[in-house]
Structures are given as structure tokens and as C-alpha cells.
Amino acid sequence: MTTRTLVSAADLARHRTAYRAVLGAVTALFLLAFAFPLYWMVTGAVKSPAELGQPTPTLIPQTFRPANYADAWQSLQIAHFFANTVKYAVGGWLIQVTVDVLVAYALSRLRPVLGRVVLGAMLASLMLPAAALLVPAYLTVVDVPLVHANLLNTPWALWLPGAANAFNIYVLKRFFDQLPGDLLDAAAIDGAGRLRTLWSIVLPLSRPILAVVSIFAVVGIWKDFLWPLLVLQDPRSQTLSVALSRLSTASYVTPNELLAGLVIASLPMLAVFLAFQRHILSGLSAGSLKG
């Protein structure tokens, strides 16, 4: 048995029926509150517009039109926006992890002059609410200082700001700090350079933390809304979230097609969640309080 909690095992055993009732009530309530909306979304998408619009909703679809999903995929161009979002997520993830691992490794293992100042300045950005940087960061993307490039409607407008992730750097640095120094020294004695040590020794040892950072990077990019809304105004370049927001007010989109779009936008996240449930739930409780 696990450690004792609020109610003792003896009390639970004594009130077995009450416990069963609570368990049943919680199960029913949770299914209703958290699973039913998803069920309604998935089934709503296969209903006909007339059935979807009737004042008493049907629990089981009376009309069954799985073709609505295909319609949304093609005629709403969900396929295009899906591909966009995958591109932003994969590229953003690669850049974010590469940049942040290099910074964290340098700060943790090479201990450069002013390293603490650099780390401090990066961590200070955690204090900035996203709202504070919205307007000036947008203006920076419109006209990047020194190089005078306009990144609007390009993937770089998401990728480069995303790479400046102080939380990742902090978490990675803490992990690198705890790797056994002897092992890295041994690699150095064997003639491995810094990059080689990072690639062949540090990264393989850091798989668990890299997994957590990667999952949160991809999920973060997929869910992001406000920043892509600002910097991807050209409909062709938009993410699925921004496109859905725009389509939701377009007159030519039927509700069931839009619902199908919502389902398609959710599927990758639900797949990631079911696949990496353990990483996500434990990473959340470990990471959030140590930021």
C-alpha cells in the first residue's frame, strides 16, 4: 500500500459503499466534463448542418457523413495549414533545442567569463509577461535591427523568438551541471573536442531531459495563438490555429466542416499526450515550480 493520505485505509474499508459511490460519481462527472465535449466535437463533425443546428442536440448522430472531414481537409485547405503548422513545429523544435542546448552546455561546462551575467539576463526574461514584449517584438520582426530583414509571414518570425527560451536553458543547464565530471574529462583526455563531447557523451546522457524539453517545445508551438496571429497575417502562411480563427467567421464555412477542422487540429496534440503522457504529467510537476 502507498503512504497514508487524508483518509486512512481503515476508514475507507469501513465506508466501502460510500467510497464506491464517490468513485462512481467522480467517474461520471469527469467523463461528462472532460471527455464528453470531445465526443460531441468528433461526432458533431459527421452530422449534417441541419442536425447540428436543431434546438435539441442528438447524442448519437442521426446522419453520418464522415466525408465532412475530407471536405474540411480539402475545401477549407486544412491540409495546407496542417502542413504549415508541422513545418513551424518541427523547425521551431530543432532550432530551439539546438540553440538552447549549446547555450546551456557552454554555461554549465565551459564556465565562460560573465557566464553568470548572461544566465541572469536570460532568466530575467522569464519575468517579462509576454504582453510586455508583444508590440516591440512585432516591430523587431518587421524590421530586424542591423540586418534590416522583414520576417513577417516567414517561419523565422516564429522560430527565432522561440529559440530565446530561458526556461529550457535553465532546465538543461541544471541537468548538465549534475552529469559526472569524470566522464567528460575522460572524453577530453581521449582527445574529444568540446563539440564531440557534447554530441557523444552529454546528449546521450541527457535523453530524458531532452525528451521533456522537446515535447513542451512542440506542444507550445502547436498551441500558440496570439504571436502567430500577429506575425502571420498572410493567409497562406498561417498556422492551423490562426486559420481556424479566421475561418470561423467566414460565411462559406459550414459548422460541421469547422468542427472537423477543430478535431484535426486537436489530433496531433492528443496523440502526443497519449504517447508521452508520463513525460508530460511528471515533467509538468517537476518543471513548473523550479522555473
Binding site: A131, L134, T140, R174, D185, L289
Partner: protein
């Protein structure tokens, strides 16, 4: 500190010849390390400089400038703030935001804690409940908000259908001034309470069982055990979550943006107004920056407190 001592990677443990070579070699090694380090950090430093540090400075300067991206920015002193305070929407947006944050605390702060305490007592289906409660957090926010838009529909929406089915009065939800804000808070609570619940659950598992044992021996019932054992034991997590929630809800955007639009005075919030100033009507970036600066001044205090509290978290 958990960091390994400098000696572990320094020439102290380097092979004998290097040690004999003395200060010259050590200095060269140090220089090489610095060079490598800054090469490795170059991309990261550039990203932070361009998209975090520079915008911070520019945001402050921008508050005292007029900038519309067409004509070159000009210094206007405190004009932006003057315009801001003169805008009748400004106090409305502030009041709405405070109302949203307050209501979100009423619904969204106690609920995850209560759910976590309850789930921690259940001996069955624990993984199942954790997955269910976290499901909404995984949905893209736009999906959640658009889905709830259907639920809120006064005619064919689920909520009014359910109310009609049990012969209760229906509601206009987001379309009525009196219920619009509560409707937004409900969406936000549904989509966010999962993460706080999971964090509380992790915290609950660290409470030593002896404390409950002792409290029970002293005659404390369930409520008093929660009050005198659970809450004090989790007070650090509770405080941190409070700060995080306030900072997050004060920046609420997508719910009003998508459910009630950027012009509805009943639900316009600070972030929506900033968005309006900069990106819809007047492209007045200076005015938007001035408002962002005020929001930052308020939220920065909360964030600083959060960072200070968690700097040496166990």
C-alpha cells in the same frame, strides 16, 4: 550549490604535462574555453538580444514615441499616456480584466485544489482521472474556445438545451452583458485547471502520512485535517500557483477575442485593447506600448515575487 566544483573540469585534473607547463598553458586553455563558449552561445545570445532584451528597451522608448510604421517615430513625451487615460475604453478594459482575474480566482483557484485532494483519496483509476483532467490543457486554445462557442449558442447550444431539458431558465451566455464575463471565465477555467490539478497532486504525494495520523489521533475530522495539515503543507505551491494564475489571467486574450470580439465593451480586456490600438484601428504602436508598459509594471511585480520564491525551490 549543486554545480560541480571548478576543479572537476579545470586543469587541476588535466594530465601531468599540462600541469607542469604552468600558467601560460592554463591561460591559453581558459582563453580557448571562453572562445568556444561564446561561439556556442552566439546564436542564443543573438536571439535573446533581438527578441527579448532589445524589445524590452524599445518597448519603454516606444511608450514615449509616436510610431505607426509609416512615418519615422517622433518623441511625444507623455502624450501616449495622456491619450490612454483620456480613452473611455481604458478604465473599462482595466475593470474588465480585474473582474476576469477575480472571477477566475473564484472558479479556477479553489477547484483544482479540491479536485486534487479528492483524486488523491481515490484508490482506483488514478491514471485515468489524471489523463481526463489534463485533456483540455492539451487542446489548442482556439479549439477549446470555438467548441465552447457552439455550447454557448443561445438557440442550438448544448447548455441551453440541457437547461431546457430540466425546465430551467436559459441564458444568453456570451451575448448578454450580465453573463458574458462569467462565460469567458468558465471556458478559461475548463481549459486550464488540469495543469494546476496535476501540480497539486504531485505536492500532495510529498505530505508525510504521519501528519494525518497524528491529526486523526488528536481527533481532527477530515475538514480540519485539510485545514491544518494539507493546506499548510502545500502553502508554498498554493502561493506559487496563485501568482502564476494572476499573471496568466491578467493577460487573457483569446477568450474575449474569439467569443465576444475586440469591440464589445462588456468584455474588452487590457490585452484586447493593446491589440486594438496596435493592430486593428489606428496602428498606434506608441499607445499600445504605453499600455503594455503599465501592464508590465503590474505583472512584473508578481513575476519578480514568483522568481524570488522559486529561486531555491526544493
Amino acid at each position: 550549490m549543486a554545480v560541480l566544483t571548478a576543479g572537476a573540469t579545470r586543469p587541476a585534473t588535466a594530465p601531468a604535462p599540462a600541469r607542469r607547463a604552468g600558467r601560460g598553458a592554463r591561460l591559453r586553455r581558459r582563453l580557448a574555453d571562453n572562445l568556444t563558449a561564446y561561439t556556442f552561445m552566439a546564436a542564443g545570445l543573438a536571439c535573446f538580444a533581438l527578441f527579448s532584451w532589445y524589445p524590452l528597451v524599445r518597448g519603454v522608448l516606444l511608450s514615449f514615441q509616436q510610431d505607426n510604421l509609416v512615418t519615422p517615430p517622433t518623441w511625444v513625451g507623455l502624450d501616449n499616456f495622456r491619450h490612454l487615460f483620456a480613452d473611455p475604453l481604458f478604465p473599462i478594459a482595466c475593470r474588465n480584466t480585474l473582474q476576469f482575474t477575480g472571477l477566475a480566482l473564484v472558479f479556477g483557484y479553489v477547484l483544482p485544489f479540491a479536485i486534487a485532494v479528492l483524486l488523491n483519496e481515490l484508490r482506483h483509476l488514478r491514471g485515468f482521472f489524471r489523463v481526463l483532467v489534463y485533456l483540455p490543457v492539451m487542446l489548442p486554445p482556439i479549439v477549446t474556445v470555438l467548441l465552447w462557442k457552439y455550447f454557448y449558442d443561445p438557440g442550438s447550444g448544448l447548455f441551453n438545451s440541457a437547461l431546457r431539458a430540466v425546465h430551467l431558465p436559459t441564458s444568453q451566455w456570451t451575448q448578454s452583458p450580465t453573463t458574458a464575463m462569467v462565460s469567458l471565465v468558465l471556458v478559461s477555467t475548463w481549459s486550464n485547471l488540469g495543469s494546476a490539478t496535476i501540480i497539486y497532486l504531485a505536492g500532495l504525494q510529498t505530505i508525510p502520512g504521519e501528519l494525518y495520523e497524528a491529526a486523526e489521533l488528536d481527533g481532527a475530522g477530515v475538514w480540519r485535517r485539510i485545514r491544518h495539515v494539507t493546506v499548510p503543507q502545500l502553502r508554498f505551491v498554493l502561493l506559487v500557483m496563485l501568482l502564476l494564475q494572476v499573471v496568466a489571467t491578467m493577460q487573457v486574450f483569446i477568450e474575449p477575442y474569439q467569443l465576444t470580439g475586440t469591440t464589445d465593451p462588456n468584455t474588452i480586456t487590457v490585452m484586447v485593447l493593446i491589440y486594438r490600438y496596435a493592430f486593428t484601428v489606428n496602428y498606434d504602436f506608441g499607445l499600445a506600448a504605453a499600455m503594455s508598459l503599465l501592464l508590465f509594471a503590474v505583472l512584473g511585480a508578481f513575476s519578480a515575487l514568483y522568481l524570488w520564491l522559486t529561486r531555491e525551490a526544493p
